[in-house]
Structure formats: C-alpha cells, structure tokens
Symmetry: C2
Subunit: 72 residues, 2 copies
C-alpha cells in the first residue's frame, strides 16, 4: 500500500467512480498491490526473512510504499 | 487476483526479476490488487453486501479476476 500522506490518484478515481454509480458512504479508497509467491522454502521463518528481503530489494518502493508479509 | 489459467505477465516478470537478483526457489508469482475502502456503514453484513456489489459492478473484472471481501 502507499504510505499515509502519499497521494493515491488511482484510489481517488475509484472513489469518484463509486460515487457516480450511486454508492454513498465511501469515505476513502486506497489501492495497493498484492503479490502471491509460491516458494520452495518450507521453513516459515526462513520464508518470511527471504520475502522481506525481496520486498526491500524489488517488490516494494519503500520510499512511498509500506508492505506486510503473510506466510500461508 | 487473476483467475487460475489466466496468463499473468506482470507476475511472470516479477518471478524473472527475482531470479536475476539471486532469489532461488520462487516457483510461481501472481500479482493482484488490494483496494481498501473506508465506509460510513457500521453494520458488517450490510457493508459486505455493499462491497460485493461494488466488486461486481466496478472493482473487479469478473471475466478474468476473482475477488474476496474482508471486513475489518
């Protein structure tokens, strides 16, 4: 997700479009990405460490985006 | 998320880039969207019904995308 305070024009466009379609009561919309990875790693903690490194190096733009990692 | 069987070139590009960066053991990558809505509605079931309708009408392309709704 974009960090709080970073303008989200895509989310704002969605909010506007929902209003046009008659959906009232939508106060704010933020749009982000979800990336699903199938990993060979079977140890949950090792997987979490590896994915966190992937986020820092490639998947997230940490200047403007926050991220969270879930292991399923 | 894109439905299974629908080609995901963005996910494929991420998988390739992770390989280039030396992350081994990434078997598959799928990329999707997450949309966070702040609603005035306070009843969880009414909110769920309303968001499901938003997904069907605007937020998801149900021909190629699946979606799930979480109320927080």
């Amino acid at each position: 997700m974009l960090k709080n305070g970073v303008l989200d024009p895509q989310g704002e466009a969605v909010r506007h479009a929902l209003g046009q379609l008659g959906f009232d009561g939508v106060e704010a919309v933020r749009q982000g990405k979800v990336i699903e990875l199938d990993l060979a790693e079977t140890d949950a903690e090792a997987a979490r460490a590896s994915v966190t490194e992937m986020c820092e190096k490639l998947l997230a733009n940490t200047v403007i985006e926050s991220y969270s990692v879930e292991i399923a």
